[in-house]
Symmetry: C2
Subunit: 251 residues, 2 copies
DNA sequence: TTCGATTGTATAGAACAATAGACAAATACG
DNA sequence: CGTATTTGTCTATTGTTCTATACAATCGAA
């Protein structure tokens, strides 16, 4: 939605195709920050008028930039700027999703896809220090940065200690803020196991990936100030867009 | 005839026309000195094979460079590198044609177009200090630099003092060397009058100009060591390609 | 669910780019 | 004066680029 509205210059019969000239100008404007500063490109019709060419000519330019990995077009939504480098997600004792990416992405968002209260699977019960089959709250969340899915997480919480956690999360949009409703002002990451695998069908859809895409899987346990486990989480990061930065310094 | 023989790279379907890519490469190779170092480009067939394109495609590239003024094509002769700046012809007491241009042009050549012995016109007789109607040798010469006509001169010499001067000039190709055959080891320019006018029909043909072209006219008198006039010359320089640099320092 | 905004696809024609072959015109050279 | 070399012109064919119009598909929001 940003960018100057003045007409851009393209030279005809110069031996350089219009779509190539326009692609070069768009790429440069993006890196200069004068276009797509909010992560989204103006609609094709607006751009084609700005460059004084047919919409299809402009689409050729966008197609070239999509091929380069500079842009990403989504039918019905718009054309978005691809982050040039992977987001670096810090893994440390004080890992928080949004704060860790604050400097790397302009727009961060987490949304609740689904939630349920159900018996704890064995590994979740072990992680949370509960009896197998104890009631837990399960949250399915999706995190995005700059209009682009970054991770898909499944989290479990002790349903007895955190009744109505899903609602608290839905209202605050934040794990940290939801915990505060239960008197937890601070918490720490006790452990993180990192692995990688192909994305399953559900994650492919949620993360808008194509078949064969890879996800980084981080299985983490968060504990409160007393060291009692309060969250067991499995987060699938899009491997193409994220790298995990593990801090090994003393804490 | 110079330039490396290895095949040059051009990219197809890149949005940049082949002729444009080739024109850019040729322009760069010329300024780098790896092409046209002798002022002449290889034939179109050779270049088209070197770039791996059809001769017509290569001709489009050459046409663009001709339009830019970088090249000049002559039917039956070849394609030549245009000097980007005017040749600066020094006018001083020791003005010599070839030495003055030594550093500015790779290839300098003077040729004798015609010669005759005839009665001196009035202004020539005055210049040479002869009686009007005295016999003089008239030389019509053409000078070129880098395969390109630069000037067209008509010179007169005292036929009594310099018998057979035309033959001497034809054999040596140099005014200076021809004078040496008559015992003149050194000579000086006494005066130069500079004017400008449109080229006449004969000069248009000899200098390969198109109608309306302008010539700089330098009327000069050279004298020997004793100050006796030995040459009266009218030189027409192609105004597009030459500027005269008049030295005003004390001699 | 309907509507507007946006990207995706299809088709057709005009303009440009590249290839191919043949021959003309000018020049250089023996 | 021929002959070879080199640039200039012409016609034809094919592929790419650009324009134009129309409609489909997807998404978001009223």
């Amino acid at each position: 939605m940003s960018g100057q509205g003045q007409k851009q210059a393209v030279t005809r019969k110069s031996g350089v195709a219009l779509w190539r000239q326009i692609a070069d100008q768009i790429r440069q404007a993006i890196s200069a920050g004068t276009l797509g500063g909010d992560g989204k490109l103006p609609p094709e019709m607006v751009l084609s008028e700005r460059f004084g060419v047919n919409r299809h000519t402009l689409r050729s330019a966008i197609a070239a930039l999509v091929q380069e990995g500079v842009l990403r077009a989504e039918q019905g939504r718009g054309t978005f700027v691809e982050s040039r480098q992977k987001l670096s997600f810090p893994i440390s004792a004080r890992t928080r999703f949004s704060t860790g990416l604050r400097s790397q992405a302009r727009d961060r968002r987490s949304s609740l896809l689904a939630h349920a209260v159900e018996p704890a699977p064995r590994r979740v019960a072990e992680g949370l220090g509960l009896a197998e089959g104890a009631a837990v709250v399960r949250l399915e969340t999706l995190s995005e940065a700059d209009e682009r899915p970054v991770s898909r997480a499944t989290s479990w919480f002790d349903a007895e200690r955190f009744p109505g956690y899903a609602e608290a999360y839905a209202e605050t949009g934040s794990i940290t803020l939801a915990f505060q409703r239960y008197g937890i002002e601070d918490y720490f990451r006790k452990s993180t196991l990192v692995s990688a695998r192909h994305a399953d069908a559900a994650d492919l859809a949620d993360l808008k990936l194509s078949a064969g895409a890879i996800v980084l899987v981080a299985v983490a346990v968060n504990v409160d100030a007393e060291g009692v486990p309060i969250q067991y989480a499995e987060t699938r990061f899009v491997a193409d867009r994220v790298e995990l930065s593990v801090s090994t310094e003393l804490q």
